[in-house]
Symmetry: C2
Subunit: 121 residues, 2 copies
Amino acid sequence: MDIKRIAKATTQTLISYLTYQAVRVVIEQLKETDPPRSLWLHQFSTQERIQDGEGYLRDLMGSHKELALRIMTVRAHLAEEISEFLPEMLTTEIQAANAQHRRHYLERLTQLPLTGDPPDP
Amino acid sequence: MDIKRIAKATTQTLISYLTYQAVRVVIEQLKETDPPRSLWLHQFSTQERIQDGEGYLRDLMGSHKELALRIMTVRAHLAEEISEFLPEMLTTEIQAANAQHRRHYLERLTQLPLTGDPPDP
């Protein structure tokens, strides 16, 4: 397995996801300070558009530079804030999820009706 | 902005993505060793199904326990291998992408036709 390729692809997925989260943060902030602009950004940020984080920012940079710059600042901030915790959260949560799948499986096994004759007393 | 909630949501997204990557790794490995099973796993792993990584593994655990366990092992391995590099890759790549958006914007600005009269010689 090509760890380097997977690490790169994972980073890109992560950046797109943090861009989406940054957009949500800015829409929420604008709800307080500038509701019409919040609505505009909400309507601009369709699901199809935002799935390609960099394409979305390029478009937004053309339509509304200040908002694009603000989202870029917020996503960089989010990355700095969470990247410290990510490695541990990731490995811990995966181990927990894996253990839960194994436990569910064992529980299901023990709930199955026993086949064959009961053992002699 | 609620950093803790965003960190949790990001971790879940990351786990789902690594599950998808682990499925791809196992499908590729099986192509060499057990082509019919590779095909079966490929057909089982539809896009809708795999978007919910944990639901996907629960289903697979019911249909084909060994494959589910193998994918769980691979995703844990991937997490361990890449989590060390993720924080730096993430912040570096976001800074690079942000810088590129700013640069594109400035380039576009300087390519716009000048308005107004040319300055006097």
